[in-house]
Structure formats: C-alpha cells, structure tokens
Symmetry: C4
Subunit: 124 residues, 4 copies
C-alpha cells in the first residue's frame, strides 16, 4: 500500500458556534479535524491556529497511534489556550508521518442541527 | 477517456448516528461511500475500518460491476462484523480497478435531517 | 492565467429526492452540477449517467458560453431521457475546454432544507 | 514548511439566498470564501465573479495580512458593484502569494439553517 495521506494539511474555514441546543456532548456545536493514521508508526501531530486580527496560536500537540483514527474537537483544545467561540479561525496541521485530515462541523445554534464536511487541503 | 479515478481512497470522517427520525430506510441516519466504476471491468473493492481504540477491522468485500455505481451504506456492512453506531471511525478503500469515491452522511437524529458530502481523499 | 480547470470530472454521488417542501423552483429538492467556464471559448459539455443496475445513459449535451457559469440541475435533464427520482446515480462530465465542476444538493423532503456540496473529482 | 496553498483558486458554486431568518449578521444567509494566508507576506487577492448571462465582474480587491485568515462574505463585496442576491455565480480567486481557499454557505431561508462547505479547486 502506498503511504496513506500527507504530512501537512490546511483548513481555511474554522468557527465554533457559541451556542448549542440538545444534549451534550453529541449535540454541542463543534468543529472537528478527523485524523486517520493508517501507518505503522505513531503520528505526532501539531495544530497551529490562525486568526483575523492576532498572531497565530500553537502548536497544539496531539498523538494518533499507529492504525488508529482520532476525531479531534477544536472545542477540546486548551494548551496553550482554549479556542475562542464565535471567532473565525483557520488551521495548519503537521504530522510526523502521513495522515489524512477531514474537516467537519456540527452547528446546533438553532433547534435543528446542520452539518458540513470536506477533506482538508493537502499542502505537501 | 483516461482512467476514471484511483485505486486507493481514504475517508477520515466516519460516524453512524445511533438514532433516526422518519421513515426507513430513506430517513435512517446513515453513512455512505458512493463508488463509481466507469471502467469496463468489475471492481473488486475492499474496505478497512479504523477506530480510535482498537485494531482495524476488515476487509469488507464489495463488487461494483463495470459501468455501474454503488452507494454503499456502512450501516449495511456486516462481514466480518457490523459497524458500531455512535462510534468514530475512518476507512481506507482499495479497488482492483480505478474508481471514484464520495463520502456522504444523512443525520436524522433530530426531526429535520442534515447532510454532508465530500469527495474522498485519493491516496495513490 | 493558467487554464482554469480540467476537461473530465466525476461525481460519484447522485440522488434526486422524490419529494419536496416549499415554493418551486427554489425549494424543490434538486441535484446540481455547477460548471464554470472561465475560458475564452464555448464549452461543449457532455454528461453520462451511471446507475446501479442498468447501462449508462447519455450523453446529455450542454453548452456553457465563454466566461460564463451554468448551474445545471439534473432535474431538468430530459434528452435522451429524464433522470429518475429516488434513484442512486453517478456522473462523468466531459468538456471541450477546461471547466470547473462543483456538485451540490438541496434536499427539502422534510420541512427544513438540508444542503451538501463538494468540488467534483478531476479525472484528467 | 512548504508554501501553504496556491495562487489561483476557483469556486464553481455561488448563490446568496435573498431571504434569511434569525438575528443578523450571524444568521443572515451568506456565501463565504475563507482565505488562509500562512505566508510571511501580505496577500493581495482579487476575486472575479462569473455569471450565467452577462460578462464577468471584478476584480474585487482584498488584502489578507501575513499569518492571518480572513473569511470574506460575498454579501459584503460592493466595489465595483454589490453581488446580486438569488443569482447563480462562480468565482476565480487570485493571490500574490500562496493561500488556501475554502467555500462555505449558510442558508437561513427557512427557520432552520443549512450549511455546506468544500475546499475550493486549486487552479495552479
């Protein structure tokens, strides 16, 4: 099998709605980077966040074990700092081994949820 | 015409909602891999599922006849085992001939449905 | 400017919901191939549809003038035959000049609409 | 780090719904080009709009500072002219430095919102 994925990805869209309807955590408005590491080595992943009006924040550090997937909610990132709600951002995701990244959002600001998803942009 | 597609694809997002509203099967919450085989040969397709906390499961085996499309619901996969609901997963899809794969979800946990779709990531 | 797009695209997902809510035509459930022809020549476009259990149908012929966009509803295709509702299909789209193709759906089977969109897969 | 992105992108889908429900501006129906400039130089960006039945309009000029993201609502573009509502369009986006572009829409014509998103098509 060829290497599955790339080592650098970008997501230009990012926005965690500040409100939610429905039971937590499944119906909490959230922004997700779904990461697949199909390789035989652990992936050491860093996420850097970009904003409209201040310097980038990061790196946020995540590990994805070999042959595992991890669906990372931006809502849960808190080191070096939490991700602000109701704020536009973008992200660059780097990995020590090839991974695949897909971006999804669940928006439950209104009583009925909405979804979006796209494969992230492979940078390298 | 050039070969339509690739022989290895990845979908990093995967999640079958455990609840649904509305008439079955069209309104059942589902996760789909839409496969197009525009070639003149049958496509022997294997799907391997990746999880957050256990080893990959598969291969699930599917055939798509020449010049046909098949919209495979992950909900319906049951050999070697059913796909768990309310569980994050990812998938790698391989084929004996070039195919095109698009990922879609219908989420009807609430009374009004939500949709997402993206072309999968072409690995090779 | 480099040529904008490719001359062959594939959309593996396709399904026109058979029901709709709300005023026509804007809220009619529909499946769309949005085509951008940024070139200086008319684009002669052909669409071939693939199904699960019968031979491909087509070509459907469309023209997109130079420096124009055309958002083609599959609902409106009728030559050589209408596109069946509530039926899975896929499509291959070829053009005499480079174009860009994006796939969208509006699903109004329930009282609140759902949307999906993805850039189609560039074959060549 | 390799250059993050490309200098020319296309979005074949474009449509600003003419109606909205809910509080402005967050619930106003809108069409967005999310732009990430991860480079160390300001990005001078131009957007050209293509229509079904008239000549292209533009360029609209936007700056994205180094290491910043800007989520541009097509609703807000007004020079050389506002973007018409309820009208199909497409866009080509060029930049002086590599950027990443993702296309999103929030449609609140009905009381419950719908979302779509896809990475734009990288032209070069």
């Amino acid at each position: 099998m060829p290497a599955v994925g790339r080592t650098c990805w970008a997501i230009a869209e990012g926005h965690i709605p500040g409100q939610s309807h429905g039971p937590e955590p499944q119906m909490t408005s959230h922004e997700t980077a779904c990461i697949l590491n199909a390789s035989s080595e652990v992936a050491h992943v860093t996420i850097t966040l970009y904003f409209a009006d201040r310097d980038p924040v990061g790196p946020y550090r995540i590990e994805v074990p070999a042959q595992r997937t991890r669906h990372v909610r931006f809502n849960d990132l808190d080191d070096p700092e939490p991700v602000p709600r109701d704020t536009d951002f973008a992200s660059v995701i780097k990995s020590s081994v090839p991974i695949v990244v897909q971006h999804s959002r669940l928006d439950s600001r209104q009583s009925e949820l909405a979804l979006l998803s796209t494969v992230a942009f492979p940078v390298d």
